[in-house]
Symmetry: C2
Subunit: 344 residues, 2 copies
DNA sequence: TTGAAAGCGGTACCAT
DNA sequence: ATGGTACCGCTTTCAA
């Protein structure tokens, strides 16, 4: 069908291997032949067939991204979009392609991942989940297949991962509220099967500890990972005899629900109840009042994951890398009760 | 490295071609040999190498998705996530892989697309943009490379596309406001280089026409495709001597900005100014008041795009397909000024 | 520096 | 029904 290396060879009056050397920019070739071959390639509109190269090189120059099934948190926020942008940028820069794969449930997810690996369609994998999915990960470890997880994982030492320091982030968010004078601080989040969830909670508790504030179970509410869940969780906290004066909400979307519940109760934010969210969703700065949130730099998570993986693929460096992407608390009106309000 | 077809052939005491037939589930083979070979395959943990198959078959079983560079609208909403889910589901069902590719600007986008095509890494392409990017599309047409566009395109008849009927959607949204008694209806949107933008506007005008309402340029404001743009656009409309009593906003994110501007002016939604948005972003139902919006079923756009493309790849049916995914107006408080308010 | 030839891991046609 | 073999398009070793 299309022009092959042989066609070019014939037209240029050289052997196929010579053309191949030109493609690979092999130094053991005369400048003259090189130019002639390049010339012919241009004329004939030749491009090397990626599949054939992959077969000969035993390398696909492709990394796979496993996107969790839709019930996962990843789908709600712009997380997926951003992480893909990050992965895409790194991969493109390094000359890699990105193959993406899903499954409608955890079993299908496992099967499609195995397929990519077994059929050798990709050189390495990025797993977009901090959820405990032992089956897939165990299998990859067993097969010594290169991969990196976005999010931390219990087996952390033996695998590559890229993550925020969620515990620190939880600490910072809580500390901020404490410094605003709060002593009754609630925590609202989703299930702890998400590793980052538990981490954020740990940071919250640690901050309370540091300032000698006692943690009360009444101030904890875990619900579904959506606006609605945040709404329900806050309703629950508001029904307590003792209400918190501030809440740390482990996700912006939930925080929006939290704010709705607070307003519905006729309370003001931040005067009656202050709110801090996580992830710094684009909308966080536009809700009323603008929501203080921990920015997690999702693009960087993706970018770094891809870099770690590709480095691993290209060097025979077998050491597992762990990268922590720093977070930043973006302070907005929803949590400011002391001075300096004018500045915002 | 890993087990090949020859290893299996040897172990099973048959020829490689026989093993190949078993893989392809070729009928011209005895049940007995088939079973034995399958048995050996299991034992040896054999999986056919996808790259080798691709080379021999001249088919990658992979479709490429070209994601526009980040400045595009697609990145803002959960659009990208949803469309990828749709594409992924269809592709998986049909046994195809999805390769995704970007570029940080239009030129890089063009180059990376050409690369996928020229190096024959994919069998077909899905373009996620209704923007007028003639260079890429012209090239694909010239090369007769199979592709489908999500979103409509000026050259509509000669290419495959999947889209909503944005004109109809614009009509419906506007008609709804007219039926609520409005006569002064504004239109807020982004640049008309987005085809869907112009279409929504056309629908808006058509609805005004149908009800003999004159269109006034004063009621039109085009701004950047973000919350901030919506805010600015609404501020502009509010500064008119004659203010609209309702606005059609061509995107939810912009609509959020519009709502902010209205509230800031001390006006009420929907009593003073009603608002209708587009895309039905997850957050639309949670803002205050809940935003009426046109649901566009992004998952279906992606799913159908993939189906159209794969159908085209598998049959030699060269006829161009155009699929219209229906929209639905989700009426919420932001636009209801007559009766039945209690129901919401 | 260049060419010939043997792979890479399958597929498919031609025999038998 | 099965085996032998010539590709698919490129890479790489070995010789010259």
């Amino acid at each position: 069908m299309s022009v092959t290396i042989k066609d070019v060879a014939k037209a240029a009056g050289v052997a196929a291997s010579t053309v191949s050397r030109v493609i690979a920019d092999n130094p053991r070739i005369s400048q003259k032949t090189k130019e002639k071959v390049l010339q012919v390639m241009k004329e004939m509109d030749f491009y090397p067939n990626a599949i054939a190269r992959s077969l000969a090189n035993r390398s696909t120059k492709t990394i796979g991204v496993i996107m969790p099934h839709s019930s996962e948190q990843v789908f709600v926020n712009p997380f997926f979009t951003e992480v893909m942008r990050g992965i895409g940028m790194s991969a493109m820069k390094r000359g890699y392609n990105v193959l993406f794969s899903t499954g409608s449930d955890i079993e299908e997810e496992y099967r499609s991942t195995s397929k990519l690996v077994n059929e050798q369609r990709v050189d390495g994998l990025i797993l977009l989940t901090s959820r405990i999915k032992d089956k897939t990960i165990d299998e990859l470890i067993k097969k010594k297949f290169p991969f990196v997880v976005v999010g931390k994982h219990p087996k952390l030492e033996n695998i590559n991962w890229v993550d925020n320091n969620n515990q620190e982030a939880g600490y910072t968010a809580t500390e901020h509220l404490i410094k605003q004078g709060h002593k009754s601080i609630g925590f609202i989040g989703g299930e702890f099967t998400y590793v980052f969830m538990g981490e954020r909670f740990k940071g919250y508790k640690k901050a309370l500890d540091s300032f000698s504030i006692e943690f009360s179970k009444e101030f904890l509410a875990l619900e579904e990972f959506l606006e609605e869940g945040g709404y329900r969780a806050m309703k629950k906290l508001l029904s307590n005899k003792k209400r918190p004066t501030a809440v740390v909400v482990a996700d912006d979307l939930m925080a929006f629900g939290v704010m709705r519940a607070i307003k519905e109760e006729g309370l003001r934010i931040p005067q009656d109840i202050s709110v801090v969210g996580f992830n710094d969703t684009p909308l966080a700065s536009y809700v009323d009042p603008p929501l203080t949130s921990v920015e997690i730099f999702v693009f960087d998570l993706g970018y770094n994951a891809s870099e770690v993986l590709i480095n691993q693929l290209e060097q025979e460096d077998d050491q597992k890398k762990h990268i922590i992407v720093p977070t930043r608390l973006k302070i907005r009106k929803s949590s400011i009760t002391v001075r300096r309000q004018k500045k915002l």
